[in-house]
């Protein structure tokens, strides 16, 4: 799995609450059987003026000039600043795949939907929760200052602003460990294979109907 240690980059302010996974990556792109290539369709319906098709070359499509990501000053962004309940809706992991493929390594918002949160960790994307006031302030500063960058350091759990001041953030120790080391959690779970087998044997004895035909 991908690691996350530190990311210094341009910030994209997406001023919209309850951004759902359909908004992040519309369903027609879910027909792909691959994990990559979703970046060009990230936020597809907001980003382009026409309706996107899977496997389409997007370079000639008409861009929506009102969509924040299309402003030249936000070219090359890697940190997404968002509003509450980001990533609600479906469980599609295509959403973090699209964020990752576009180049986002980190999201900052007041809150996230549960399944989306897990899916991001599995893809080495760091999700930071900050209170609404701090997020508001970051929105104001990002919008007011072209070229605004943040420096996110997971080890020290700090975000450094362009003026050198810092914001600290919380992260679950287990998630931090997994992200810093880019661990394969299937491999980690399989280290407990004996425990799983013995649980299974006991469970089968107690609830044999769950194992009918095995």
């Amino acid at each position: 799995m991908k690691k996350f240690e530190r990311e210094k980059g341009l910030v994209l302010p997406l001023d919209r609450a309850n951004v759902d996974t359909d908004y992040i990556i519309p369903k027609q792109f879910l027909k792909s059987i691959k994990r990559t290539g979703f970046g060009k369709n990230l936020f597809d319906e907001a980003r382009y003026l026409d309706k996107g098709q899977p496997d389409q070359d997007c370079s000639g499509r008409p861009l929506n000039p009102d969509f924040v990501m299309n402003q030249p000053r936000y070219k090359g962004v890697s940190i997404l600043l968002a509003r509450e309940n980001f990533g609600c809706g479906s469980s599609r992991e295509h959403a973090p795949w699209a964020l990752d493929d576009y180049g986002f390594r980190c999201v900052i918002a007041p809150s996230y939907a549960d399944i989306f949160f897990n899916n991001c960790v599995k893809n080495g994307i760091l999700l930071i929760v900050l209170d609404e006031k701090t997020v508001d302030e970051l929105f104001r500063e990002t919008e007011a200052n072209p070229g605004y960058t943040l420096d996110v350091d997971l080890q020290s759990q700090t975000i450094t602003k362009p003026d050198g001041s810092t914001i600290s953030f919380e992260v679950e120790p287990s998630r931090k460990h997994i992200l810093l080391n880019g661990l394969d959690d299937i491999g980690l779970t399989l280290q407990h294979a004996r425990k799983i087998s013995s649980f299974e044997a006991g469970w089968k004895e107690k609830s044999p109907w769950l194992f009918a035909g095995n």
Binding site: R16, D22, I33, K34, R35, S91, N214
Partner: protein, 475 residues
């Protein structure tokens, strides 16, 4: 010490081990798979040289992508016109064969939406842990099982280990007291709950639905409620087991039989929250006050009673909400203050894992019977949730009722719920839909969804706009 909630009991009975970082390994009894979120998981398994831990604990079906016209469906997988969709369905077939996973293929008479066929076949049983790469897995909680959606990496993890790494959620009780008025259904109940607690209200919780109203609902109605727990932000919704649950499961194809049945049914009767269990949060609603609901915006929390009007963003509880309401109204092409009954409609969709079971179709048919689809409705689709539902409806003559009224009778699948197949809204079209999500573009690029119950959708089809179904006389 306080007693245990149903969620506590399900968690503890499936706990393999606590890991030293605050997470736990939870054993998964049943894993459902469909074509959209599984190909990359199988690929990952293959690349790592791993095998499924227990193939028999998995069951698959293609539902998201499949066409619903009888013409396409009569030719099985080969009949799928969209080449990209066809590849995805074929991939599922091939992966299931390779890994010895039972699949109800597209032309199996038992085929349908995964969350409809699981309970219907008796695959979903009380007391199980169930996951699927689909957020509406919460549906299965209606049977007293702990069920929730997972991402594709977790699909791979469950395939390989039969376990999931989980952090225990908090307990929330949503209690709907009293009695529903005639014409008010499970769908209205859950929309009213989401309207009250918001789409993030249940984040971090497992919601148990209780109270007299929930107890009075059929299992199908309870599935409708649990289905939308995720729309309230909760990964899992639950309803405690009672005799209705046990009666529902009895005799289904995969349900335990004979001695095993007795053993199982006895164990299931304990699947309730203890009387002295403590919940981290309790929300109460008065069921007798619930009016048929209609969503007017782009989030399931943006609902109003059919007798009401679209709220004014100026009255929104916070700045962020105000912006959110304004963005929603702009997308929906609607104005604050418009009466819900004056919203112009173009299409109607009756289907999805929320409302495509036999009771839903009966309720819709009762309203359209002896009436005709209104002239301004371009298309009204009825998509049964499974082949079994379809056959049952046809035995009861419901298909004829729909067809005579001018609605289309289709083959089972997710269809216009997420519009991955050809069933889509056109740009700017308004649709009365029995599905669960009204997000921008969900039912088609630029499409505008209004979430309602099956009876409300049926009434909208024949009147051409929303009407209070409580006032519609049945023929």
């Amino acid at each position: 010490m306080a007693g245990k909630t149903l969620y506590d009991k399900l968690w503890e009975s499936h706990l393999v081990t606590d890991l030293d970082n605050g997470t736990s390994l939870i054993y998964i009894d049943l894993h459902y798979l469909h074509e959209v979120t599984s190909p990359q998981a199988f690929e990952g398994l293959r690349l790592a040289g791993r095998k499924p831990w227990r193939s028999q604990a998995n069951m698959a079906t293609p539902d998201h992508n499949v066409p619903t016209t009888t013409d396409e469906r009569s030719r099985g997988v080969e009949g799928i016109v969209d080449p990209v969709s066809k590849i995805q369905v074929k991939f599922l077939d091939a992966n299931c064969k390779e890994y010895d996973i039972e699949e109800f293929e597209i032309d199996d008479p038992r085929h349908g939406i995964v969350h409809v066929i699981g309970p219907e076949q008796g695959r979903t049983l009380p007391g199980m842990t169930i996951v699927c790469g689909d957020s509406h897995t919460s549906t299965h909680g209606a049977l007293g099982s702990l069920a929730h959606g997972i991402g594709t990496s977790e699909v791979e993890h469950v395939l390989a280990t039969q376990c999931l790494i989980q952090r225990k959620a908090k307990n929330m009780l949503v209690k709907v007291n009293g009695e529903l008025k005639p014409g008010v259904t499970a769908k209205d109940v859950v929309l009213a709950i989401i309207g009250k607690i918001g789409t993030a209200g249940g984040t971090g919780y497992t919601i148990e639905f209780g109270g007299d109203v929930i107890r009075s609902l059929s299992l199908e109605g309870r599935m409708t409620v649990c289905n939308m727990a995720i729309e309230a932000g909760a990964r899992a919704g639950l309803v405690a087991v009672d005799e209705k649950t046990i009666d529902y499961v009895k005799g289904r194809p995969f349900a335990p039989k004979g001695e095993a049945w007795e053993l199982a049914a006895t164990a299931w009767r304990d699947l309730v929250s203890d009387a002295d269990a403590e919940f981290d949060a309790v929300v109460e609603l008065d069921g007798s006050e619930i009016v048929p609901q209609v969503s007017w915006g782009t989030s399931p929390e943006m609902v109003a009673p059919v007798t009401g009007s679209i709220p004014d963003p100026a009255d929104a509880p916070s700045e962020a909400r105000r912006t959110n309401y304004q963005q929603a109204l702009k997308y929906m092409g609607l104005k604050a203050g418009t009466r819900i009954q004056d919203i112009r409609l173009d299409r109607v969709f009756i289907g999805s894992c929320t409302n495509s079971r036999i009771e839903d179709l009966r309720a819709a048919a009762a309203v359209v019977k002896g009436r005709k689809v209104a002239a301004n409705i371009r298309e009204a689709l009825v998509v049964p949730g499974s082949g079994v539902v379809k056959a049952q409806a046809e035995r009861e003559g419901l298909d004829k009722v729909f067809i005579e009224a001018g609605l289309q009778w289709r083959e089972p699948g997710c269809s216009m719920c997420l519009a991955m197949n050809a069933d889509q809204l056109g740009e700017g079209e308004h649709c009365a839909s029995t599905s669960n999500r009204n997000f921008e573009g969900r039912q088609g690029f630029g499409g505008r969804t209004h979430l309602v119950s099956p009876a409300m959708a049926a009434a909208a089809a024949v009147f051409g706009h929303f009407v209070d179904v409580r006032e519609v006389e049945l023929n």
